[in-house]
Amino acid sequence: MAGDSGAFQELFRQHRGDAARIVHRMLGPTSEVEDVVQEVFLHVYRSLGSFRGDARFSTWLYRLTVNVTRMHLRRKKSRPRFADVEVPETVADDGGMPVADPAELADQRARVRALYELLEALSEKKREVLVMHDFEGMPAKDIGELLEIPVLTVRTRLFYARKELYAAMRTHPLLASAALAIRESEEAP
């Protein structure tokens, strides 16, 4: 099947959204998502010949996407610093869509970015399980099958991943203050 350009284009069109969603949830809000998605489908193109059809294509693609993203994160971690500057554009590209509250949106984005910074400190195994379960909404059983580990191991990793994350959030200046604000708003009469 490799090299069958028409079939590949059809697969790309049908499944690219899923791949992008997984990569985005594993990497967080970063401009690298598009590059990784591109890399995923380059791998798909190369590996289609080895896809035997004994698993669903979506499952195969999910596994491939996780692997490619994992490799990307490893490469990124091994560098002292990944340089990526964005020169601000002069023309707004929001397409004129109304934004509810820009300040709130910016604040939300900053907190999501902070959360992903903390995720980077987790071990690869814990982070993957956490992203799949909490962000992707995947059941523990499916995660076990995908990663080829027992369900109990999935649950244990998830528990410790969250525990470490909460501990890190308690001392993170931005996330701790946001958490405090929630508490105060709930305690207010």
Binding site: G3, S5, G6, F8, Q9, R13, R16, A20, R21, V23, H24, R25, V33, E34, D35, V37, Q38, L42, Y45, R46, S78, R79, P80, R81, F82, A83, D84, V85, E86, V87, E89, V91, A92, D94, G95, G96, M97, P98, Q108, R111, V112, L115, D134, F135, G137, F159, R162, K163, L165, Y166, A167, M169, R170, L175, A176, A178, A179, L180, I182, R183
Partner: protein, 439 residues
């Protein structure tokens, strides 16, 4: 007193899974334990962020991914072809002597000539025809003029601005030179809808983006902050203000223009008529084409993929033409009638090199600086991936190299963003390997 927070119990408490008694006990503990209070707040904040992440769909510029992937696949196919050729060459060398001997003694066989098909040209033509504009005014209409006069409010055809209930308008631009002027005091938020006469094309403009279709009209919209002009050649200029104008492709007909290629059955080859709704960018055979511009693409053998994307990078149309073994040559002449090139996005290596070479002294300084900080720094290649806007200014630089010292990256980055290239006419990305070596 500090202790390890009761994470499991508090997660259950947040999810409403604790019994009344369990909840009461935990609340009593929480009242006197700051560690657990902070933990509970973190759990709640995490739940909020998690829901936000789950609800967020990534904003992907598919046209960029599409074009990048197409280029990578093309390189991949070329590489495979080279490998096949090399294998064939090696095999050929091994068998050359034996084959020569066999041929020498073989009687001459009759040759069967296989006719090679002449590649036919598939050309996109984009036609400019009178446009019809339907605009919903999201805010009150002020002073509106059509061809210098206050337009009628009757909803009839031919140059009518029908205010109706004051919130909607229909404007038909049936004649050349139609000018619409919205007075400076007019506060307009247009939710515009442009359509080609005959309903071939519909384009939707969002509130802050005015979309103008290539046609032989001159449309001036004067606003408190902005004048946008579409000139007779179909080029859009923003004369003042901060709002952008987006060129929108008209009808896209992929088929044959004059001298059309006939299939054996006599039917014209591969003609695709398409309605593009809200499209601002086309990708033809892996090349991004914005606006109605002459362009040329030498497509690969096999399927030619066409796709159109809206202003937010979402794919609104896709089509694949199976060209069999024909090489498709999309020639600019087919769209020459539209006007001068507007956006093509191309730079030759000869245009890139002098600009980068001009920074040699500065880059050398960067390297020397890095060597002072890291005396054991060897040589190597720093790959700079540069993205330009249509004016040739650097929009983005990414550097990629294992173990590059931060001081070197920062210095190179600072230099790279100052590069100014000749205007490529459209967004362009390329990679430059910067090689550093100490003497």
């Amino acid at each position: 007193m500090t202790h390890s927070p009761k994470t499991r119990a508090m997660s259950a408490y947040c999810d409403g899974l604790l019994s009344d008694t369990g909840s009461a006990l935990l609340e009593r503990h929480l009242a006197g334990c700051e560690t657990c209070q902070a933990e509970l707040s973190a759990i709640r904040e995490y739940a909020r962020l998690r829901e936000g992440i789950r609800a967020t769909e990534p904003a992907i510029d598919w046209s960029r991914v599409d074009a990048g992937l197409e280029a990578s696949l093309r390189a991949e196919r070329r590489q495979r072809a080279r490998m096949r050729a090399m294998r064939w060459g090696a095999g050929g060398a091994v068998f050359a002597a034996a084959a020569a001997a066999i041929i020498w003694f073989m009687p001459e066989a009759p040759r069967v000539a296989s006719r090679t098909e002449v590649p036919g040209a598939v050309r996109p033509t984009i036609e400019a025809v009178p446009v019809r504009l339907t605009a919903r005014l999201l805010e009150r209409v002020g002073d509106v003029q059509l061809n210098g006069r206050a337009p009628s409010t009757d909803p009839v055809d031919g140059g009518v601005w029908g205010t109706g209930d004051g919130s909607s308008a229909l404007l038909a631009l049936g004649e050349e030179g139609t000018t619409v002027r919205l007075g400076a005091a007019t506060r307009t938020r247009l939710d515009a809808h442009l359509a080609l006469e005959g309903g071939q094309l519909q384009v939707v403009a969002r509130s802050s983006t005015l979309v103008v279709l290539a046609a032989s009209h001159r449309i001036e919209i004067e606003r408190a902050t902005c004048v946008i002009e579409l000139d007779a050649t179909g080029a859009v200029r923003v004369l003042a203000g901060t709002e952008g104008a987006v060129r929108v492709d008209g009808e896209l007909v992929v088929g044959t223009a004059e001298g059309r290629v006939e299939e054996p059955g006599g039917e014209p080859a591969r003609r695709v008529d398409v309605t593009l709704d809200g499209a601002v960018r086309l990708v033809v055979g892996g090349r991004v084409v914005e606006g109605v511009s002459p362009y040329s693409v030498l497509a690969p053998r096999g399927a030619l993929r066409l796709a159109a994307f809206d202003a937010r990078g979402r794919e609104v149309w896709t089509h694949s033409i199976d060209a069999g073994d024909l090489d498709l040559d999309l020639r600019p002449s087919a769209v020459a009638a539209i006007g001068r090139p507007v956006i093509a996005g191309h730079l030759d290596p000869e245009e890139i090199e002098p600009i980068v070479r001009g920074s040699q002294r500065a880059l050398q300084h960067c390297y020397e600086q890095a060597l002072r900080a890291h005396p054991d720094l060897g040589g190597g290649t720093l790959r700079a991936r540069v993205s330009l806007d249509r004016e040739g200014a650097v929009r983005r630089v990414r550097l990629d190299r294992e173990q590059a010292p931060a001081v070197l990256e920062a210095c190179v980055m600072a230099e790279a963003v100052t590069w100014r290239f000749p205007a490529p006419g459209g967004p362009v990305s390329f990679e430059i390997p910067l090689r550093f070596r100490s003497r």
